[in-house]
């Protein structure tokens, strides 16, 4: 029984919220946690639940019946649940975020006319820019969330945030997008290409920029942004709406971490970032913990005796004389293995107790001994969260 288990259950949180965003360092199990939370909500709370994911592992995607990349929302069939031995009260839907398609959709929505739309999509810089500029993956994920939420198609949306080294980037992406489009700097940058009138103040900059990049290239960029600026109002409005959703009390964040040093530090950093922005922190999931039996003193005692008396024990338990030496090796190996893992488990517990977030928000989830590759596995993870 883990110490955090009794204090918080995701059931309470998910009953009250409409949007859940899971976040944390790369490789800690964000996507699985998001899928598990969504599956449990659909099973026990009912309603229509959507798990929106960015980049799921193949087998997890297969487990959820996600076969195609794209923005299509697919329902996990009742038959699939039945095979996992579960009869859900509600519906579970899944979708994978397609960054490129989402950007194209956005341009189609906001472009003032067909000519501008086609010019942007045909611009050679467009793909490159949507891939890089102002954390466009982060922005587009939030944008999709806004669109789906506004459609009113779902009771609960669980979003798995894009993997990013700097976990808070996506939180600020909508603001940064709005800031970018309204910035004087952008206007200043493209002004000469628009009016062909250089101001004295900007001259040294353009002179240097021209020498480094070449005037032609700068002009290409400027033209692209001039096209983009026609969508200014739409973008700024949407970015503001997305920020409002993140601040809404119906939205909550679930921070996922393992109890390794680096992810745990990042989780703490993230919790602080949420607090600064007055976003709601719903839970901190400590994922992939080793079983509690590694903390048991009886286990340690047994391992030490097995290691120390391996020779006599081997004579006792080996069925054939010829097996004695090999058995001695097995006993030592097994005992050493226990003591090795015990140290890792102890390190995890120490890390858990050092976490600065409120105790009552911690939920610990044990490691599955295999990859998550079926809906039954997803639900098993879910039961530890619930």
């Amino acid at each position: 029984m883990s110490r955090a288990e009794a204090t918080l259950r995701l059931e309470t949180l998910l009953s009250a919220k409409e949007i859940v965003l899971t976040c944390g360092a790369g490789g800690v199990g964000k996507t699985t946690t998001a899928a598990a939370a969504a599956a449990m909500a659909a099973t026990h709370l009912g309603g229509r639940v959507l798990a929106l994911t960015v980049d799921p592992a193949r087998r997890l995607a297969a487990a959820l019946g996600l076969t195609e990349v794209g923005n299509t929302e697919t329902r996990v069939t009742p038959a699939a649940f039945a095979r996992a031995g579960v009869h859900p009260r509600g519906e579970l839907w899944v979708a994978m975020l397609d960054t490129k398609a989402s950007w194209d959709d956005l341009i189609r929505t906001h472009a003032p006319d067909a000519a501008t739309r086609d010019a942007i999509i045909a611009n050679p810089l467009y793909r490159n820019v949507t891939g890089k500029f102002v954390q466009s993956h982060d922005y587009i994920a939030m944008e999709r969330l806004h669109e789906i939420h506004a459609s009113g198609r779902y009771d609960l949306i669980v979003v798995d945030t894009p993997p990013t080294r700097n976990a808070i980037d996506f939180l600020d992406a909508p603001d940064r997008m709005a800031e970018f489009f309204s910035s004087r700097l952008l206007r200043w940058l493209i002004a000469p290409y628009r009016s062909r009138m250089f101001t004295t103040a900007s001259k040294p900059f353009y002179a240097a920029a021209d020498r480094v990049l070449g005037a032609q290239f700068l002009q290409d960029i400027a033209e692209f942004f001039i096209l983009f600026q026609t969508m200014y109002d739409g973008f700024v409005d949407r970015a503001k709406a997305v920020t409002r959703i993140l601040e809404d009390r119906r939205t909550t964040f679930v921070v996922v971490t393992t109890l390794d040093t680096a992810p745990a530090r990042e989780a703490e950093f993230f919790v602080e970032a949420l607090a600064e922005r007055k976003y709601h922190l719903g839970a901190v999931v400590c994922n992939r913990m080793l079983p509690a039996y590694f903390g048991d003193r009886a286990g340690a005692r047994a391992a030490e005796v097995m290691k120390g008396n391996a020779d006599t024990l081997a004579s006792l338990v080996a069925r054939r004389v010829g097996d004695r030496d090999a058995m001695e090796g097995v006993l030592r190996e097994v005992a050493e293995n226990y003591l090795n893992y015990r140290m890792i488990a102890a390190r995890e517990l120490e890390q858990l107790s050092e976490l600065t977030m409120p105790r009552e928000l911690l939920v610990s989830v044990p490691a599955l001994q295999r990859d998550v590759c079926s809906l039954a596995d997803v639900l098993e993870v879910g039961r530890h969260l619930w």
């Binding site: 592992a57 490159n128 005037a215 700068l218 048991d296 047994a302 090796g329 097994v334 295999r370 990859d371």
Partner: protein
């Protein structure tokens, strides 16, 4: 022509998915080279990365600092790199006039594809060209972004038709595309996502860049507890007679010890599947280096030394 040995190259880009120990492995490689008398620079690309933590040193700056004998460390800053470039290449020393340039720089750089990347890769190639170091080890961006970085010079050559940058790209490419000088190193753990990303990145490096994949380093490989014979002996411990004897001698805790062995075996098996997938995908073309999982205290310099020793053993280098 056989591939040059890993540490005989001059510029190594170490990449990998988050959480696989990319930075620790980069430092272990750099420290190993430094301990063999090679003047080595380790450079972190991500300003928010944890290279300083792994080295247990003060926050790093753009200006390299000697952190261990013969090992220098720095953090990349595209703004500093631009200033240095303007000063050295274009002879524009005017720091005062750089003010407005620096302010707009971030926007220009994000807007103009490849500018940040070329300033990054350019600086690293410059250190190699000027022979400031025998080896430059780069703690690169994660798998998702590294191709963009390494492909930037070629991309720039296509979009930028004139200007000083265009002229610089050629010598940068000469260094990047020479397997004797430059190599990419992908770090992974034997788990589904890191291995999938490694396989995809290996393919993507080949099709989008001319940078040679020097090695794949599989980190945190779990030890094999026992072979087939030992495993059947282990299973016999679960039979009623043997189990009763064991409990009598060592106490009830024996079940935990046996459960732990099963956990270790299951974990290793789950991971073996991914290693097979990796080897199938790479074939014999790329050397795969295995580093053991370290049952260690928290990660720091001590862990790095152990990793360096393991690397030395795997690469056949005497410590």
């Amino acid at each position: 022509m056989p591939a040059p040995a890993l540490l005989d190259r001059r510029l190594l880009f170490v990449t990998g998915k988050g959480g696989v120990g990319k930075t620790s492995v980069a430092v272990a490689l750099a420290a190993l080279a430094a301990s063999h008398g090679r003047r080595t620079l380790v450079c972190q690309i991500d300003a928010k990365g944890d290279l300083a933590d792994v080295l247990e040193t003060e926050p790093l700056t753009y200006k390299p600092r000697e952190v261990l004998p013969g090992l220098y460390a720095m953090t990349m800053s595209t703004e500093e790199s631009l200033k240095e470039y303007l000063r050295l290449q274009l002879r524009i020393p005017l720091l005062a006039k750089i003010g407005p340039l620096a302010r707009t720089f971030d926007f220009v750089a994000t807007a103009a594809p490849g500018v940040k990347e070329i300033l990054t890769v350019g600086k690293l190639a410059y250190e190699v060209r000027e022979r400031h170091y025998d080896l430059v080890v780069v703690d690169s961006s994660a798998t998702g972004h590294v191709v963009g970085q390494l492909a930037a010079p070629e991309a720039i050559r296509e979009v930028v038709r004139v200007g000083a940058v265009r002229n610089q790209v050629d010598w940068i490419l000469d260094i990047l595309q020479d397997p004797a000088q430059t190599g990419a190193v992908i770090v992974a753990t034997a788990e589904e996502m890191p291995i999938t990303e490694t396989i995809e990145l290996a393919a993507s490096l080949g099709s989008n860049t001319h940078v040679d994949l020097a090695a794949v380093i599989v980190n945190q490989v779990l030890p094999e507890l026992f072979g087939a014979r030992e495993e059947s002996l282990f299973e016999s411990l679960r039979t009623a007679t043997a189990h009763r004897k064991l409990v009598g001698e060592v106490g009830d805790g024996v079940d935990h010890v046996l459960d732990a062995a099963e956990l270790a075996v299951a974990r290793r098996r789950a991971r073996a599947v991914h290693l097979d997938a990796l080897n199938d995908a790479l074939g014999a073309t790329v050397p795969v280096v295995y580093l053991p999982f370290l049952f260690a205290r928290r990660h720091g310099l001590r862990t790095t030394r152990r990793l360096s020793a393991a690397l030395a053993a795997e690469l056949g280098i005497e410590q």
